[in-house]
């Protein structure tokens, strides 16, 4: 079966050409310059990165981080108890619940954000209902603001948190819990000192998936934030499809990648620390 090894080649070559090469090119491009008509000029300049820290984009970066952190925390608070519940029911029900969580995950962000537009817009379900009930006379502005974007992000990214947390809850050694109970721990004590620390790798993985997805997101903010909420993803998208300043767009995307890599590195630190606490087992 020596020849079998060659079977992997076409896919590997494909990914090298259409995945690695393009990503590498984004990196190179971030040092190039933009010509007057949006054409690309080969050079080596750091000015694109300098612009990233311009107050205008600094504010966008800050807004993006703020929304991403808020989204991650909310997903964790909402998702953890759900994942915990899934592990408490029978195996058959577990798979049904997991399927129910994964189905929305496969429906694209565009359609899922649109569903909220139907509900929240000024002639939407909520406003129509409240007006019929006579509770309000003028429609409330529920869309095109930061809370709407956070709602959309939490809604679309929640499965990213639930699934890894579920996996870690499913895998951790339940005997430790029994030991804690035998030693007289209350359920809360057992949860805080055993369950939560031992499921930290899942929490970290979920948080990273949510965080990384939300900093690169432009669909939800575009749909539910309108022109009011502009995030890093929207600015990048606009540099490529609107403003046609590709080198600057490349520099911004590169910052996005750096941020993501930094987080994944932190994730490995967390996993290491907690697996060391478990007696050096590999996680």
């Amino acid at each position: 079966m020596r020849k079998g090894r060659l079977l992997a080649l076409p896919a590997v070559v494909w990914l090298a050409v259409f995945f690695l090469l393009p990503i590498g090119f984004v990196f190179v491009l971030s040092f190039w310059e933009r010509g007057t008509y949006g054409e690309l000029i080969k050079s080596f300049t750091l000015q694109n990165f300098g612009r990233v820290f311009d107050p205008l984009y600094g504010r966008v970066l800050w807004e993006t981080l703020k929304i991403a952190i808020l989204t991650t925390v909310l997903c964790l608070i909402i998702g953890y108890p759900f994942a915990y519940t899934v592990t408490m029911v029978s195996k058959r029900r577990q798979s049904i619940l997991l399927l129910l969580v994964t189905i929305p995950f496969w429906i694209n962000f565009l359609v899922r954000s649109y569903a909220w537009i139907v509900i929240l817009r000024s002639q939407g379900v909520v406003n129509t209902l409240l007006q019929k009930l006579g509770l309000i006379h003028e429609p409330l502005q529920l869309l095109y603001n930061t809370p709407a974007v956070v709602l959309g992000m939490v809604y679309t990214l929640l499965p990213f948190m639930i699934l890894p947390v579920y996996v870690s809850l499913e895998q951790f050694d339940k005997q430790r819990l029994e030991a804690a109970y035998d030693l007289g721990a209350t359920p809360w004590q057992a949860f805080w000192s055993i369950t939560l620390p031992l499921t930290m790798p899942g929490v970290a993985a979920g948080s990273i998936l949510v965080f990384v997805s939300s900093i690169g997101m432009f669909v939800v903010s575009d749909m539910m934030g309108g022109s009011k909420v502009s995030l890093l993803g929207n600015v990048i998208q606009n540099q490529f499809l609107g403003a046609r300043d590709w080198p600057f767009g490349a520099a911004l995307s590169f910052m996005l990648v750096l941020l993501s890599i930094l987080l994944i590195y932190l994730y490995y630190k967390v996993v290491r620390r907690y697996s060391a606490a478990k007696g050096g087992e590999e996680v």
């Binding site: 079977l7 694209n108 962000f109 509900i119 990384v212």
Partner: protein
Amino acid sequence: MKRALLAYSSFILLFLYIPLMILALYSFNDSRINAAWKGFTLHWYVDLFQNEAVIDAFWNSLLIALVTTAAATALGTLCALGLHTYKQRTRTMMSGLMYVPILVPDILMGLSMLLVFSQLHWELGKLTLIVAHITFSISFVVILLSARLASMGKKLQEAASDLGATPWQTFRYVTLPALLPGIISASLLTFTLSIDDFVISFFVSGPGSTTLPLYIYSMVKRGITPEINALSTILIGMVVILMILSEKFQTKGTDGRKGQLPF
């Protein structure tokens, strides 16, 4: 405590599904302007099927998804089979690398391919869409099938060889039939990913290659109408059916283990 958690979880499921249900419900509402319920109608669906742009987008999506599925499933299956013959360490490393395209933000994948296509002077259209869709699908196929191959073990293949089967016969009559449900599951997943993709398609599509999600986006930008609800409902329906089918095949003939997708 358990009851409270169960109640809480039902609430979360409602939070996940109610918006989608409302979206679908209002595709049957006989009112163009607002959300007041004016009665049941199939009017918006009839409109869709008479709208040439929608029909075009549908055929584009279907063509792209079919070609993507065939190519990505073939490339991915071969790759998984190839990786399976590697030594444990190389295999672990390679399958780790296969996660990278899944973890990279869609926006970066889309714009990086746009860059390369424009440098190569490829005209943006169906071809660039197909290339992009194949690129993001391969990893999913490799990961699903690698897990399946790993769970199959080597006993069956060894038994076949002991009984005098040639490597080709072993593959044709032992490995392939055992792998088939996995291949079907992976191709259904690829088809879903392709037909449903918005972000990457947004960057690499050109005039005349609008797909269903791209068409929905342009409709939303022009104004909210019940036709968008109808089209979104059709898309959701397709994704749900395909995912349930894929799930069925994924666990078929194994001990219930599945490829760990990185959620």
